[in-house]
């Protein structure tokens, strides 16, 4: 085939154009640091990368839920703990009150203390965390969940559960409702104790001691079930964090242009390397780039 002028020019122009195109794409990817600049650059990997990016965000949402749930749960546990501490004192009072050598006046003073403890516990039962009642079920605002008129404790909240999403199809219940608290018999036993002391009846008081112990146990059981929610949340948190680190690592190797460069140019020199180590919790940062320079 004869080679004519226009053939030469045309072929040259074509090869020039294709070089320019690939240069532009390379340059953009270095500037943004990402290789998948738009879906057409790599449609299949874009699709995957997009899904995983969304997954990371979802996980971060779940992690936030886990954190706030942990806050709530830990707060609940410390309140129940405080109530338990009070029960320990109540037992002492009951033992004293059951003592036949104690006089009416003595019992009256003890009764007053029990009354004050009941108020404290009602107050604890009305605790707020971030502006919401801890032991009211879903009635987290408005009237206080517990009221005490000096004779009995009334619960105005409900027994509904507070759910928090911590996984795609997975929620945890984070609350202890006022009904569950009431079910420990803490209020009935204490008001009974107060009555018994008011009635100056040592046998009645003595009978209550076993029940007070039971209330203590109930509170411990309640707290330990909350504790297992806490453990569960911690495990979920660790798993979510690890998953997100793995996902980030995958995205990094799929998209970051410099990673390959960093890996291949790395030269192992142990002493120099050790000098470059610096520590933070959960991660060690290798200052490779400054080390390479």
């Amino acid at each position: 085939m004869r080679v004519t002028q226009s053939i030469i020019t045309r072929t040259l122009l074509q090869s020039l154009n294709s070089t320019k195109e690939s240069l532009r794409e390379k340059q953009t990817s270095i500037a943004t640091g990402k290789r998948i600049e738009k879906p057409s650059s790599d449609p299949i990997n874009f699709s995957k990368a997009d899904k995983f990016r969304r997954k990371i965000e979802q996980n971060e949402g779940f992690l936030q839920n886990v954190e706030s749930s942990l806050g709530w749960v830990e707060n609940t546990m410390s309140i129940i703990d405080s109530i338990y501490e009070k029960i320990l004192r109540v037992k002492e009072i009951a033992v004293q009150g059951a003592d036949n050598t104690l006089d009416e006046e003595g019992r009256r003073i003890l009764s007053e203390e029990v009354d004050s403890i009941i108020n404290d516990i009602v107050s604890l039962g009305n605790s707020s965390y971030l502006g919401k009642y801890v032991f009211a079920g879903t009635s987290t605002k408005g009237e206080k969940p517990f009221t005490y008129d000096g004779y009995s404790v009334v619960y105005n909240g409900n027994g509904e559960k507070l759910f928090r999403r911590v996984g795609e199809n997975y929620s945890v219940v984070i609350n202890v409702s006022g009904e569950q608290l009431r079910a420990t018999n803490v209020f009935t036993v204490l008001t009974d104790l107060k009555n018994a002391l008011d009635n100056n009846n040592p046998e009645e008081v003595a009978d209550l001691i076993a029940r007070i112990d039971q209330v203590g146990d109930n509170l411990l059981n309640l707290n330990s079930s909350v504790g297992s929610i806490q453990k569960q949340l911690e495990l979920i948190k660790n798993r979510l964090e690890t998953a997100n680190m793995n996902l980030a690592s995958y995205l990094s190797s799929a998209e970051d242009v410099d990673l390959a460069e960093a890996i291949t140019q790395y030269n192992v020199e142990e002493t120099a390397f050790k000098a470059a180590l610096s520590i933070t919790s959960n991660a060690i940062q290798l200052n490779l780039f400054s080390f390479l320079e």
Partner: protein, 146 residues
Amino acid sequence: MKNGNKHPQMLEGIEIRNLVTVEFPYGLPGFEWLKRFNIAEVKDNPLFSLLYSTDEPDISMIIMKCPVAETSEELYKLVRKEIKRYFGANGNGVDIYFVVRLEKGEKKLIANYSAPIVVCRDRMVGYQLILERDLSELICENSNVR
């Protein structure tokens, strides 16, 4: 760096060798459905390896051996104990790796020391341990670096 679908010996200018296939019965967090991975060393680079799924080779990560040459006996003991506790597996002859990513803004490589990938050599089975305590202290104690 794009992986997968390419000849396993050569990935975009990075040569690899000593490829092994490891079963991960629980997958990896974030990739729970992938149960089998290849691990290959990066040629002339004893620190880094490549981990990628056999079913979906595009899913890959860079992993790193413990950066301190003399890895402590304590470290191995801890890892073996955890494997036994969580997975009931025998932890003899384990290789320990840490997942790595690039922190673009600061030009740093970040390794995840609280979730090592552990491979039991004898049975070619792997797990990712999620530890309550991260190992950076343990490793650094050993290397006298602070």
